[in-house]
């Protein structure tokens, strides 16, 4: 592989982010790839600085782990946009910037004379990104990650076979993430176009819309056939109930069995493994597994036409459940995957980052916290660029880069 470039992907671009939990990830994705992202905080600091959990469980402006995660590689300046000097500084800052990202309540910036319509006149190359509930022309109902995922679709598909139990919001702020996952490619496309045209533009991101187009089959089954999917434990919501795919292994950990064996090689591999473990006699479906040798492939057609194929297919599934009852989840994961069968251990996020594969790939990323005289492991690069590596430094202290503003105002 050729040696790394001296330039980061986004070096030379200045991004101004008005701090908010709703757009913080967009700024982080750009900052970790080399953009100069200046996060503008109010005098008391971003609200998320007061969100638990804290480092060492000590509340404090510089200790929120939410802040730490979402603001890596950024710079912080404090501006009181409600004051005329703050507004003026913001205007000057935007005039020197390539991209603005904001998720302010609709109308707030306009009332302050600090919105796209007012500031784009002084900088025709400016790319302004608004992240709102459902667009800048829309209303602005009070909302959180939870309510967005509820009315945006994802919650309907997540939960348990037992529909007396509430449907589930997946963890981790994914409604905000998904909006940012649309904001960033839009910004990049706008930057690419600006390289040729010299013209900036307004990008208007709908959080509700982003959730709506991130529900896979719930939408696809409705658009194509007007069928409603129903939630099912640990697997796809579908118009009809499907077979479970989640088992609990001998160590109590959950496991996604993926697709059970479907061809001769896989049946043989599974059978041989059971033999090697000395469990053949104990395994109730061992004899049926042998019949798997007869099948080049068990597909939908075979399952439809050949009753024996169905039995063999189910034996494969049961054999995996049997192995799960005898093995810890990690051993089952390695054993099946090494034999060519797709499956997954259900890790917690902190177990994933400790797994040898991801360690070897360099995914866990140590960040220095010099004022604490410590370094801590963060989730690392979502992608590995051969020439322009991802990198991340600690989130800024409140107003740490205030000198930027002084320089700007000369």
């Amino acid at each position: 592989m050729p040696s790394a470039s001296s330039q980061s992907v986004l070096s030379g671009y200045r991004v101004v982010e008005l701090t908010s939990e709703r757009c913080a990830l967009a700024g982080k994705l750009l900052a970790d790839m080399g953009a100069e992202v200046i996060v503008v905080e109010p005098p008391e600091g971003c609200a998320t600085r007061s969100w638990a959990p804290y480092a060492d469980d000590e509340a404090g402006t510089e200790n929120s782990l939410h802040w730490w995660h979402y603001n890596t590689s950024k710079k912080s300046v404090v501006l009181d946009l409600d004051s005329s000097s703050g507004a003026q500084s913001f205007t000057s800052l935007v005039a020197t910037s390539d991209v603005v990202i904001e998720a302010e309540p609709i109308g707030r910036l306009n009332a302050l004379g600090l919105d796209w319509e007012q500031l784009s006149h002084t900088n025709s190359e400016l790319i302004w990104t608004s992240i709102t509930h459902h667009g800048r022309d829309g209303t602005d109902p009070p909302s959180t990650d939870l309510t967005l995922l509820a009315e945006g679709g994802p919650v309907w598909s997540c939960g348990y076979d037992d529909h007396q139990i509430a449907p589930i919001r997946g963890g981790g702020n994914q409604a905000f993430h998904t909006a940012c996952h649309y904001a960033v490619p839009s910004i990049l496309a706008a930057l690419l176009w600006r390289e040729g045209s010299g013209i900036g533009q307004l990008i208007d991101v709908s959080m509700l819309g982003a959730a709506n187009v991130t529900t896979e089959f719930a939408t696809l089954w409705w658009l194509n056939g007007e069928r409603q999917v129903e939630r099912q434990t640990g697997r796809h919501a579908l118009p009809t109930m499907s077979e479970p795919t989640q088992i609990q292994c001998a160590d109590g950990k959950w496991f996604n069995t993926g697709v059970p064996p479907r061809n001769r090689q896989e049946f043989q591999a599974l059978r041989t493994w059971i033999e090697d473990l000395g469990l053949a006699e104990e395994c109730g479906v061992y004899e049926i597994l042998k019949l798997g040798d007869q099948y080049e492939r068990i597909g939908v057609l075979e399952l439809d036409e050949d009753p024996l194929a169905g039995e063999v297919f189910h034996a494969g599934r049961e054999a995996i459940e049997f192995l799960g009852a005898h093995l810890p989840a990690y051993e089952l994961f390695l054993g099946l995957q090494k034999r060519g069968m797709a499956c997954g251990i259900v890790y917690s996020p902190d177990e994933m980052i400790d797994d040898p594969h991801f360690i070897e790939r360099g995914f866990p990323h140590k960040i220095e916290y010099e004022t604490r005289d410590a370094s801590y492991t963060h989730p690392g690069a979502p992608y590995q660029f051969s020439q322009t590596p991802w990198s991340a430094t600690r989130a800024p202290h409140l107003g740490e880069h205030q000198a930027l503003i002084d320089d700007l105002l000369g």
Partner: protein, 413 residues
């Protein structure tokens, strides 16, 4: 006359091997932004490497190879050609296509492109500044690189499944391939970053995208709580993803209301929200002083949730949500697919009608963004197998009609 609408990626051409959603979803976004995405399919297996080709849900009454609704959705706006890469002549044509493309994209298992003779080093020999983005579950290097993955597995291994559920129950996980969507978003981001860097420096590169690593960044706060505070996610009472741990909010969850499988989501962010909500409820228990403080609401959260459950079940979910939103409290009904797709006027522009050469008109997903100067556009459904062979091999690569016809006869395309 209005001036012709510009498209952000009108000068970009992608030589695209992606499929399913994790890959095809990425290049769909690029096509909507105006890139010419040329999707390459295998004529021998009739494009069925992509397991979504020709499977339900069907578009309307159509059936067969071209009628898969998911395939049509994920490949809207792209061109389609066939190349039988077992044939040396097909490899030659691919080399010519790479030479006139800006990026090569794929989400095969690790090593497949190498075996085809089109790994990154080979691509660079064809075009030195090519942007190559590979996307698979575990990435191109490391001990698990040969392991197989798709959405649910990426979600399981990354922690997304574990962090979605209630205590003392199995993981609920994500009831769909959230990481196929999201892997596609990271892939689109990676392609565009690669193109932008090339535009500015003339330098191409390879991006190795491991979908599970992208997923592993999506629970950062929980990860840091473990790495900084040694507080593992796997602990008593956790996960409980309908509650809010960062920031602490209470009550915060989803409650059953009147009606068949009908639910409402409510997030009480602070004491003011609670005060407003307690008045909406208007029952003696809700206006008890003790609930005014977040510390008490968190300490006795289960009791509070039970009280709310008894209240909500006698009400309509929309009425609850409207009354709470009116007083400034975040609340929303859990919308069913029909409700959000057919009736929610706030997102109605998302669902666009496209034309497909064989199956006619259908609705697909658009993009939840609007760009003032370079709007996205999705007007054409997925390409039929080999639909654009004549354009790509003829107009783009300069073969004449007869040559194209004989290539088809010889099984090259």
């Amino acid at each position: 006359m209005t001036k012709p609408v510009a498209q952000a990626l009108e000068n970009v051409r992608i030589c695209d091997f992606t499929g399913q959603l994790a890959g095809a979803g990425a290049t769909k976004i690029l096509a909507a932004f105006g890139a010419e995405v040329i999707r390459i399919e295998d004529p021998v297996h009739r494009g069925k490497w992509d397991i979504l080709r020709g499977v339900p849900p069907w578009v309307g009454d159509a059936r067969g190879l071209e009628a898969g609704g998911a395939f049509n959705n994920h490949n809207a706006g792209k061109l389609g050609v066939t190349l039988n890469l077992r044939e040396p002549r097909a490899k030659e044509l691919l080399r010519e296509l790479v030479a006139v493309s800006d990026a090569v994209t794929e989400n095969f298992a690790a090593g497949v492109m190498e075996r085809l003779g089109f790994g990154y080093e080979s691509l660079r020999e064809i075009r030195n500044d090519i942007v190559y983005v590979s996307n698979n579950g575990f990435g191109a290097t490391g001990p698990y690189s040969p392991f197989k993955s798709w959405g649910p597995i990426a979600q399981a291994v990354s922690g997304l499944t574990h962090t979605s559920g209630l205590p003392d129950l199995p993981p609920a996980g994500w009831g769909y391939s959230f990481m196929d969507h999201t892997g596609g978003y990271y892939m689109a981001t990676a392609i565009l970053m690669g193109l932008l860097h090339r535009q500015r420096t003339g330098e191409g590169q390879w991006v190795d995208l491991a979908c599970i690593e992208a997923a592993g960044t999506l629970n950062g706060v929980a990860t840091l709580d473990a790495t900084v505070n040694q507080r593992p996610m796997r602990r008593s009472g956790m996960p409980n993803s309908n509650r809010s741990q960062s920031p602490h909010m209470a009550p915060h969850g989803i409650w059953r209301t009147r009606g068949e499988d009908e639910w409402v989501a409510i997030a009480v962010r602070n004491d003011d929200d609670w005060k407003a909500m307690s008045e909406v409820i208007g029952e003696p228990w809700s206006t008890e002083k003790r609930w005014e403080q977040i510390e008490v609401r968190l300490r006795d959260e289960s009791e509070l949730e039970q009280r709310l459950a008894e209240w909500a079940i006698t009400h309509d979910r929309r009425e609850i949500a409207e009354r709470l939103v009116d007083v400034g409290v975040p609340a929303a009904p859990v919308l069913k697919p029909q409700e959000r797709i057919e009736f929610d006027q706030r997102t109605i522009d998302l669902w666009v009608t496209v034309d497909h050469t064989e199956i006619g008109r259908s609705r697909v997903e658009g993009l939840p963004v609007s760009l003032s100067e370079t709007p996205w556009s999705v007007t054409r459904g997925a390409a039929c197998l080999g639909e654009h062979n004549v354009y790509v091999f003829g107009e783009l690569l300069g073969l004449d009609e007869q040559e194209i016809a004989s290539l088809a006869e010889e099984g090259v395309i």
